[in-house]
């Protein structure tokens, strides 16, 4: 399997490294989620949702790893995926061995990812044993893996792992020892006291994890241990949850004592033998001194002050998986917090505008300081607003640019020739949306390449050029953002889908309309691929695509013509998107036109306008006649005072047609935050949303597509 992946990181022209961080974060999240779901899995009555969920996690990690060329991770997760696929298809019954091996594999994947992240070039730990076990399990045979936890060793421990027991941190890897910590671990309240013994066994079984000794506890249901370890708290927790619930574990750092490290060398303390209670830790002092020089500096420093990132990266230390993770350069925050921030800043801007207005009447000479302060406030407010807005907005190019490389690798692997074209890269999209749309898009693009585009010889035979084209485009359209994935491949085969559906027991009839048939491919596990490849074909993808997009209140439409290609349109609502708008005045009101649809504006001369039947008017612009829409009439804008007739026209283009909108004045261009009217109100004809102007007033954003459609009737 591994041969199929290219082992390379960056290069090939495009610098993929800029996406590494995102991938590592996502993969970490996926692995965490998978672990959680595995741990919560009820083996007797495992529900499909949970199994599908675990599968998707593995699939996402695999997809990303393959994209970025981390072949070892891709291979391991591919194996996991195969096993999980059988589970979710109920071809196999989940058993504890499987869960164990999957958890171990997740840990191993983390370790491998951490190595890639830190650029560790030493020999990677072998995953052959794991792969072997997974495939045995997947084939239905049950390997006699005695103690699953012990099995972690070959994975986590690198080949050159330090010899077990005392030696571990001391002489061989002094750096690790330098950051070893003394912890007090409280387990409980436990239903059964023996649960804690499992935790103790962990330290015996896992090389290099550290040492543990029991301390007398004040309560019978709580067991207290002293632990010396180099591992991070998270890592310990991850291990402990094999035996006790996460909530039952409390880890607390203890102050270091000079010479206390010697305690590490204690052989397994006699079970139940009470170790000296916390204060003083006197017994450490005379303990056999397995540690001499190396760890000495550590106690001198306050261990808590040693940042995780400062630990030696990678190396052969088994604890490196977490320790090696460099400090993240970004933070992830809940979208709701950013939303709140944006709203608050909006309020601030309005307040500021009000202050500015009220201060205009003040005498500049008398109120010089106040006015200077207000000017500063003005500038700061605007800067703040811009920064806050920019938190959420990212251009689609961030998403788009990860595809060329992926397609390149994919095409060469599949022996296909593919051109990749992107359009509308500058379309800015809410970060929340971008994150959620990236995965579905990846699936769609991958599917297009794998299923859509034919092999070069087939294409030639079909009278097409040897090279297929996949087009990815993004555009604002009315009140939505439409992202399209188009290919000029073979298109969907109606017969094949119907046949597959029947095989799967889905009720279908031959008279179904094409769109209904296409919708079938969104069923979970549905695949039209003849061969399951490591690229796609397991049916994961389309159901996830649909689910993810539906979660964003979006829709997916498929258009396909056999032999001509296929187009998947993803339509997303503008829950919160910034767009460039042109504000126009009509009467006393202000409307916003999406700048992307504005073609030109001009002052109209009477002779250019012709009236045709039923009073509708046409304007001639450079030999082209286009319908005139008087916004004043469409929106019934009241006119006060003098009957000034509008004489400015803005030509807008939408859905391939142009219309001229008659307005009173052009007020300017600005970035506007699109707000949904439907949140508290309802859909308004010809309006795609609303925005808040600098003065706090609401302005409606016009739906140019609707206006264009209107002119056609």
């Amino acid at each position: 399997m591994a041969e199929g992946y290219q082992e390379s990181g960056a290069g090939d022209g495009l610098d993929l490294t800029q996406f590494y961080q995102i991938f590592f974060e996502e993969a970490g999240e996926n692995l965490d989620q998978m672990e959680q779901m595995l741990l919560n899995l009820n083996l007797e009555t495992a529900d499909d949702e949970a199994l599908n969920g675990i599968f998707r996690c593995a699939h996402s990690v695999k997809g990303g790893a393959a994209t970025f060329g981390f072949s070892d991770v891709a291979e391991l997760t591919h194996q996991m995926e195969s096993l999980l696929d059988k589970l979710r298809r109920h071809e196999l019954q989940p058993n504890p061995l499987m869960v164990d091996v999957l958890l171990e594999s997740a840990d191993a994947s983390r370790l491998l990812l951490a190595r890639h992240q830190t650029g560790d070039t030493s020999d990677p730990p072998s995953t052959a044993g794991l792969v072997q076990r997974i495939s045995e399990l997947a084939s239905g045979s049950v390997p006699m893996a005695a103690e699953p936890v012990v099995e972690v060793v070959p994975v986590v421990a690198a080949p050159a792992a330090p010899p077990p027991v005392a030696a571990a941190p001391a002489a061989k890897v002094p750096k690790v020892a330098a950051s070893s910590r003394l912890l007090e671990v409280r387990l409980g309240p436990l239903e059964r006291g023996e649960q804690a013994d499992g935790v103790k066994d962990l330290f015996r079984d896992i090389v290099g994890l550290g040492r543990i000794a029991e301390v007398a506890s004040d309560k019978p249901e709580i067991r207290v241990f002293k632990v010396r370890t180099t591992s991070a708290d998270d890592e310990l927790l991850d291990l402990f949850v094999f035996h006790v619930a996460r909530e039952q574990v409390q880890i607390q750092q203890l102050p270091e004592e000079e010479g206390s490290v010697g305690w590490l060398d204690l052989e397994d303390p006699p079970a139940g033998a009470p170790v000296a209670p916390a204060p003083g830790y006197g017994f450490f002092e005379n303990a056999p001194g397995g540690f001499d020089t190396a760890p000495a500096p550590a106690p001198a420093k306050a261990p808590a002050a040693v940042p995780v990132a400062a630990r030696p990266a990678g190396g052969n230390a088994p604890a490196a998986a977490h320790a090696a993770q460099p400090e993240a350069a970004t933070i992830r925050v809940a979208i709701s917090k950013v939303d709140q921030l944006i709203n608050l800043v909006g309020e601030l801007v309005i307040t500021q505008a009000m202050l500015a207005q009220n201060s205009q009447a003040l005498d500049p000479a008398v109120n010089q300081q106040l006015l200077a302060g207000l000017a500063d406030l003005d500038r700061n407010t605007r800067d703040l607003q811009e920064s806050v807005m920019s938190i959420r907005m990212i251009p689609m190019s961030i998403v788009f640019s990860r595809f060329p490389r992926m397609l390149r690798d994919l095409a060469s692997k599949l022996g296909k020739k593919v051109d990749f074209v992107t359009q509308g890269e500058a379309t800015e999209l809410d970060k929340g949306l971008v994150e959620k749309i990236t995965d579905p898009l990846t699936h769609l693009v991958r599917n297009s390449c794998d299923h859509g585009i034919e092999l070069p010889e087939d294409r030639l035979q079909a009278g097409k050029s040897e090279t297929g084209t996949i087009t990815l485009s993004a555009a604002h359209q009315g009140g939505s953002i439409v992202i399209e994935v188009r290919d000029d491949g073979r298109g969907l085969s109606r017969e094949k889908i119907l046949q597959k559906a029947r095989e799967r027991g889905i009720e279908v009839s031959d008279s179904m309309s094409d769109p209904d048939v296409w919708q079938l491919i969104f069923a979970p596990g549905f695949s039209t691929a003849d061969v399951v490849t490591d690229v796609s074909g397991r049916g994961v993808g389309m159901d996830v695509v649909k689910k993810n997009i539906a979660a964003l209140n979006g829709t997916v439409e498929i258009d396909s013509v056999v032999g001509q290609g296929m187009k998947v349109s993803v339509r997303l609502p503008l829950t919160l998107a910034i767009m460039d708008g042109m504000s126009v005045g009509v009467g006393e009101e202000v409307y916003i036109l999406p700048l992307s649809s504005v073609v030109e504006s001009f002052q109209v001369k009477d002779e250019a306008v012709n009236t045709v039947a039923q009073g509708s008017r046409l304007v001639k612009v450079r030999d082209e006649y286009m319908p005139v829409i008087e916004l004043e009439k469409v929106f019934r804008v009241p006119r006060h005072g003098s009957d000034k007739a509008s004489d400015i026209m803005v030509v807008v283009e939408a859905e391939g047609s142009r219309v001229a909108l008659l307005v009173d004045e052009l007020l300017g261009q600005q970035q506007v935050v699109v707000k949904n009217l439907e949140t508290n109100y309802r859909k308004v004809p010809n309006v795609s949303g609303a925005t808040i102007l600098g003065d706090g007033q609401v302005a409606l954003i016009l739906d140019t597509s609707a206006l264009v459609r209107r002119s056609r009737h």
């Binding site: 709203n343 608050l344 949904n676 009217l677 508290n680 109100y681 309802r682 808040i692 609401v698």
Partner: protein, 162 residues
């Protein structure tokens, strides 16, 4: 939706607090728990082709909120907008809606004994949106099921089928 209304009705059995406001000569009460805040009137942005009592939308700290003038809705004689005009911001079905009233009187606690079933009213409002009549010291309150009233199709506040 029916569930919510049922809940509202049963809940009126105990003592509840009502925010009372005036529309013309009449005094109305609405469940205080539906009230988010009370604000002064500011000119909303007009929306074309909607009933007159929907005044438009305003910006409430970044949220676009529709404004309904209850006086126009209930055919009051006059509906003036001045510095004393009050907007009650309501939180209904996780939507935010503002209603314009003449004035807000006070908050009253009514026990179920103080609430009588509403007689058939010949009014512009749906009878089922009236929870009952409350009487406090010779004052009569028309207790409104404001949630039901606002969700009514004739209000046009929600998209049909939504």
């Amino acid at each position: 939706m029916n569930e919510v209304i049922g809940e509202t009705k049963t809940a009126t059995m105990g003592a509840r607090e009502y925010l009372t406001f005036r529309l013309g000569q009449e005094e109305y009460g609405i469940d205080i728990l539906k009230v988010q805040e009370i604000r002064g009137y500011e000119k909303p942005t007009r929306i074309a082709n909607v009933p007159e009592f929907i005044r438009g939308v305003v910006n409430l700290r970044g949220t676009i909120v529709p404004i309904v003038d209850m006086r126009l809705k209930f055919n009051c004689e006059k509906a003036e907008y001045n510095g004393f005009t009050v907007v009650i911001i309501l939180n209904l079905y996780s939507r935010v809606v503002g209603i314009v009233v003449d004035s807000v009187s006070d908050v009253m606690e009514l026990t179920s004994e103080q609430v009588r079933p509403a007689p058939d009213l010949d009014a512009s409002l749906d009878n089922s949106a009236v929870l009952g009549l409350g009487s406090v010291n010779e004052r009569m309150l028309i207790l409104l099921d404001i949630e039901k009233l606002m969700a009514g199709v004739d209000m046009g506040l929600v998209s049909l089928g939504a």
